[in-house]
Symmetry: C2
Subunit: 420 residues, 2 copies
């Protein structure tokens, strides 16, 4: 149906969109159940569901291309809520305990993959600008994938999880710096140090300000508080002023701010979750958020899968090259991050190394920028997408195994978080 | 950020979209709290929040126009989940008890407003085709608005609510017929009886088939059942195969089917909710749906408000005409539907009459079609939008008062549904 609005037409075929959403939700559940049955992580099943939708007749039947923006929005909201939920299970105090290790993991996990990717590409006679973009794509960590595996296994409360999450936040800031350097070099402007410092400084400023406000200012402000009393008294009278909506507002607010500051929106969502974690006794919203998450987060993982175009890899040389880059991506991140976390012991370092390795949507985004500025061609773009998806598919089962080996009792943990 | 996908660019500025969503959620909560404080329905506050966003600097600042499709999608999902939740509180057996009354209410509520609108327009020397579209716009009932008021007051379980909901379903089918007649006449093709019978027949077929399957087939199929056993055993092992996702899948499936059959998607969602109502002891999903609803449904009401352009009504003559049409709209629906429900007694008939009167988005959609086929001009379109919004704003407070008068204990009902 075409809806007219002040003379502006918005094309929007609701029956097609709803059918698409129906198929996405149904397929994600079916594949997730199937993978669970095979003792594999559900998240991999959801990504495969997306690959199936993106590479069969369904793609045209469901008019995926025309409704791509809608899927992208739902995917973005899905991963934002997922990271908010992860934040809800993390307290600043817990994170600061692992701060030093997280910094090591993040820094090594940026330098080693970037250098390896760059050197490999240059040694294969590619131009330096291309090599730099491939290196930058290898830097990206998609914390959403790991976060989902951790949450599915109910292991958010472990040291390893905290190191991975903390390192992912720092990784995002460093990734921004790398991208700024690479884009600057690519646009011919060379390395503008001031720009780079500005980009990194703004991102760090945002993260530190949020941490500062929520650890120093909020605890003082929200205690004998008039504002809170109003909310509470309204809460008692009417069910509609709820902790959930307060949480959604804070979550959207900080996600928007994070993206304004150039960071990934999910970093803001994660920080919002951490802010709320301090007040979850007063404003319990975990169970409600769990419901929203359960509904929304599959959109993200299916969307990751939909972005994969298998047809490109009919070219065997390209496929082999993509496999090689994937091996480099896995090994460098695993070894570098494992090395950064060596103080935790070998088993934990293994978990951190694996947990940092999925590139997911972040690798694809970096490659998209390379494509849009004309540095990467379609083949190299496809290679990066392959690497991003392959690392994303390989990491979860390995992570599950590593966690099970380190914590043999994992399976016995009851399925319900039972937190509120 | 521009995301490249197989060479196709999707423009999508995530920081703007998130800021927009943040403002929508924040404003809807603030206005809802304010209206609650003034003892007015929250839903009116949410619509006003939308009017403010749509008619101030915010409209340009938040790039509402560019992101209109996103808001529309979230609004559509919001009202779909709302009607699913209404369905969850309705059983077929309850509905069939009020079937005869609902039919009277629906039929009178279609004929009287249509005839009045048509005659008024023709008597004012407007062409018959225009008059027919205005009449058709007066037919529409936006059950979403009334459903929300009923749910906020925890009165889903009353006879009046069931009559309104049942009548709204029939109303939607009759509205389709009227629209088919009007559009057919407008396109110059005259009244093609076969087309009209086909349209109405398909819609009725869909509704009756769903009712038949869920009252006759499902109770037999899902009892000793292997399918259910699988779901249950998986449910015990893993939290991710949940009643909520089953409900979401059924909801999307029937909503999509309803819109394929030419009905409003929300009719499918409502039927899906009724199907699930029969199994809510086995698969409890009400609380989870409540959380999703709380998050999603404000998007619908804010969106209704955003569609209002106040600037058109600087023309006083147009404003007066719009007020006149609004009075006709309120009175005809109130009197006709009240007459249809007279067997319930005067107070209940009053509630039904008021509850059927908000036109909401349905009136706007009919007017949009009139605009797109070139029958209505911008001024008449604005008049219908005014009427739709005005009835939508007037009905909830009146409905609240009528319910309170009929059921003086309403306020004492505890705020939590506490159903699972």
């Amino acid at each position: 149906m075409t809806c007219y609005y002040r003379g502006m037409a918005v094309d929007f075929d609701i029956s097609v969109v709803l059918t698409l959403l129906f198929v996405v939700v149904l397929a994600s559940r079916l594949f997730a159940i199937g993978f669970e049955f095979l003792k594999l992580p559900q998240v991999v099943g959801e990504i495969i569901a997306g690959i199936v939708i993106g590479n069969t007749l369904l793609f045209d039947l469901l008019q995926v291309e025309a409704n791509f923006g809608f899927l992208e929005l739902l995917a973005e909201l899905g991963v934002i809520f997922l990271l908010f939920a992860v934040g809800l299970e993390t307290r600043f105090s817990d994170l600061s305990k692992v701060g030093r290790t997280a910094i090591y993991v993040a820094v090594l996990g940026v330098i080693v993959p970037f250098a390896s990717g760059y050197l490999l590409m240059v040694s294969l006679d590619n131009p330096p600008s291309e090599a730099m973009f491939i290196g930058a794509a290898l830097v990206a960590t998609s914390v959403g994938i790991t976060a989902r595996v951790i949450r599915d296994m109910r292991l958010s409360d472990t040291v390893e999880s905290r190191v991975i999450i903390g390192a992912a936040v720092i990784d995002d800031i460093l990734g921004l710096v790398v991208l700024a350097i690479v884009s600057g070099a690519a646009s011919g402007g060379g390395l503008n140090i001031i720009d780079i410092v500005l980009v990194a400084g703004m991102a760090a400023f945002f993260v530190l300000t949020v941490i500062l406000i929520s650890t120093k200012v909020l605890p003082v402000a929200i205690k004998p508080q008039p504002a809170d009393a109003i909310v509470c008294s309204l809460e008692k009278r009417h069910s509609r002023v709820s902790p959930l909506m307060l949480a959604v507002i804070v979550c959207f607010g900080l996600s928007a701010l994070a993206s304004v500051f150039g960071l990934a929106a999910i970093i803001g969502a994660f920080l919002a979750g951490m802010v709320f974690a301090e007040y979850k006794e007063r404003w319990p919203c975990e169970q409600s958020f769990e419901a929203i998450n359960e509904f929304m987060s599959p959109f993200f993982f299916v969307f990751v899968g939909i972005q994969v175009s298998l047809s490109v890899f009919a070219d065997i040389d390209l496929l082999l090259f993509a496999v090689a880059i994937t091996v480099v991506a896995m090994l460098t991140k695993f070894l570098a991050c494992g090395l950064g976390a060596r103080s935790l012991g070998r088993r934990s370092a293994t978990i951190v190394g694996i947990g940092m390795s999925p590139r997911g949507e972040v690798g694809i985004i970096v490659a998209s920028i390379g494509l849009s500025v004309g540095i990467l061609n379609d083949s190299l773009f496809a290679v990066v997408v392959f690497m991003s998806i392959a690392t994303t598919l390989i990491a979860p089962p390995l992570l599950q195994r590593a966690f099970r080996r380190a914590m043999p009792t994992t399976e016995e943990i009851p399925p319900s978080p039972g937190s509120d």
